[in-house]
Amino acid sequence: MQYSKDGLLRAYRRMATIRQFEERLHEEIAKGEIPGFTHLYAGQEAAAVGVCEHLDSDDMIVSTHRGHGHCIAKGCDVDGMMKEIYGSREGLCKGRGGSMHIADTSIGMLGANGIVGAGAPQAVGAAIAAKAAGKGKVAIAFSGDGACNQGTTFEAMNMAAVIKVPAIFVFENNHYSEHTGDAYAVGTALDIASRAEAFGMRAWRANGCDFYSTFEAMAELLDYVRSTNLPAAIELDTERFYGHFEGDPQRYRAKGEVARLREERDALKSFRASAVTKTYLSTDELDALDAAVGEEIDRAVEAARKAERPDPSHVLEDVYASY
């Protein structure tokens, strides 16, 4: 596959932004700066970015409780996200949503979701809209290995196949749903992608810790979906580097597991390695991006700290458009 330098730099920057966003949250949460409970996306960057780099703002995604990566990859404003996570009035959702409920429908980010499995049917509906618009647009549902056991996910796949709409089911298999392993909780004979195939749709498989692998599989998949308006699925083998939520003691992990994953399955490392060997990009360029992202995240945290807090009276706003 041919890559443009700009495209690769953009993809790297997005992945680095996700990584640094999450690493920084990890620190700030430990300090007690951030309310609520937060699910970090670090480790899965290649999945979100490998998928979303193919999209524009008319394509739509629905996300999960672990949604920061999807939001950043789809182009949500990083400042606005940080402010939202801090619970500020200036946040993307005025501080009413928080980490689990970030959305920006104006750029096709239809929402992170705290209910596991709720997003997949919504992507089918968005795909109805995409098909009606008639411009080869698609709607994507991100789901985890845990969410692939929720009835709604199955219904959504079946319905997408039946009504023939361009819905794409991206399964990020990070091998855990909370504290339970996919080896236990997913009864599937083969893999998650094979479930999608049982519903009569084509499915792909890729390495969700490797940008190139995900990006290339998605290129094929999207060619197929955009040209047929039929649904499809992809299973991405990926890893999460932190606990299920911040504060999770992770007693379910093997000894040294995270260290090994960070060594062997780091999407940024592997991107750097191939990017440099493939000579498109130099280490310096990537270092410069890392630094730029670092400053962006610093500024975002600074801004979020200082941002306006909600007033108690705001609690009553926006329940209805009109009442």
Partner: protein, 336 residues
């Protein structure tokens, strides 16, 4: 004005809306019917007769027969709405809200608020509800109480053909999710219906009758039962205000309070069981806000705290009827 029944009023309103607005789509089980069969889709026209003729005019991309997957139906409606459409999702029986409850109570209801006021989710869910046809415990429930309890949902339940058109049309113009309850025993009810783009704003009661002695607040099918009871009472010179709230969320509190301030007596009639229902809701409203006006204890006429039984004898005992309403009215008048 033309005369039609509620079924026809709903059908006409859907036709008009789909004609007017290409973003209106209809989805549900057998909303057309006949997909994948020898008979074909135009032969059927939906289970309830409310979607007759739609598939022929607007085709299967806009009139979408779905598999039996209520969560996916309502979820797809939610997603399509976030993406800019105006989906109408049909739940063949309101009893099925349990099957798709999350999409109703945690998704559609919350997007606007939770996403900072920017997302818009104008889904209309049509729920066919109510007892009276011996359909037993899982096909007879009203359940509008459960959805009225949920902030972010609007809830409408017309009892006349004009209101069926006006409220559904209003829902199809608004930007909020609307739970639209259609009583199966009312589909055949006839009445005059205004022509054109007729709308009934939410949160405004219909005064079904003015009588001045007692205030009866009745929901959905209960309105006609209240009217029957009031006819009987009129023979004894007792005049009833009968209030049909038409929407329970928003609720027109003022109109109810105004009437009770005049009559001093309240009877609320609700097809749901008594606990945490609308009878209690309206009674509590009046107790709080028209305390000094009440001249007698308020009366709640509701179904009993049981599932809906199958047998006709039992179902008749279950559904609140005119005699129970009449008796309650008399109790408020005889009190003291």
């Amino acid at each position: 004005m033309s005369v039609m029944n509620i079924r026809e009023a709903i059908n006409q309103t859907l036709h008009d809306a789909m004609e007017r607005d290409p973003s209106v789509i209809l989805l549900g089980e057998d909303v057309a019917g006949g997909a994948g069969t020898a008979g074909g889709q135009e032969a059927i026209g939906g289970i309830w007769g409310t979607s007759t003729g739609l598939i022929g005019k607007f085709g299967p991309d806009r009139v979408i027969d779905t598999p039996i997957s209520e969560s996916a139906i309502v979820g797809a409606a939610a997603g399509a709405a976030l993406a800019g459409m105006r989906p109408v999702a049909e739940l063949m029986f309101a009893d099925f809200i349990g099957v798709c409850g999350d999409q109703l109570i945690n998704q559609i209801a919350k997007f606007r608020y939770m996403f900072g006021g920017k997302a818009r989710c104008p889904v209309v869910v049509r729920l066919i509800y109510g007892a009276g046809m011996n359909s037993a415990a899982q096909h007879s429930q009203a359940f509008y109480n459960l959805l009225t309890a949920i902030p972010g949902l609007k809830v409408a339940m017309p009892s006349t053909p004009a209101d069926a058109k006006g409220l559904l049309n209003e829902a199809l113009h608004g930007d909020d999710p609307v739970m639209f309850f259609e009583h199966k025993a009312l589909y055949g009810k006839k009445g005059e219906v205004p022509e054109g783009d007729y709308r009934v704003p939410f949160g405004h009661v219909r005064m079904a009758r003015e009588g001045g002695d007692v205030t009866i607040v009745a929901f959905g099918r209960m309105v006609s039962f209240a009217e029957k009871a009031a006819d009987k009472l009129a023979e004894d010179g007792i005049g009833c205000d009968i209030i049909d709230p038409r929407t329970t969320s928003p609720l027109d509190e003022e109109a109810i309070l105004d009437s009770v301030e005049q009559t001093g007596r309240l009877v609320v009639v609700d097809e749901c069981p008594p606990r945490c229902g609308l009878a209690a809701d309206v009674t509590a409203l009046v107790a709080q806000k028209a305390f000094t006006s009440l001249d007698a204890p308020p009366e709640c006429v509701t179904a009993p705290h049981t599932p809906v039984p199958f047998s006709p004898e039992l179902e008749r005992a279950y559904v609140p009827g005119p005699p129970a309403i009449e008796a309650a009215v008399r109790r408020t008048l005889d009190w003291g």
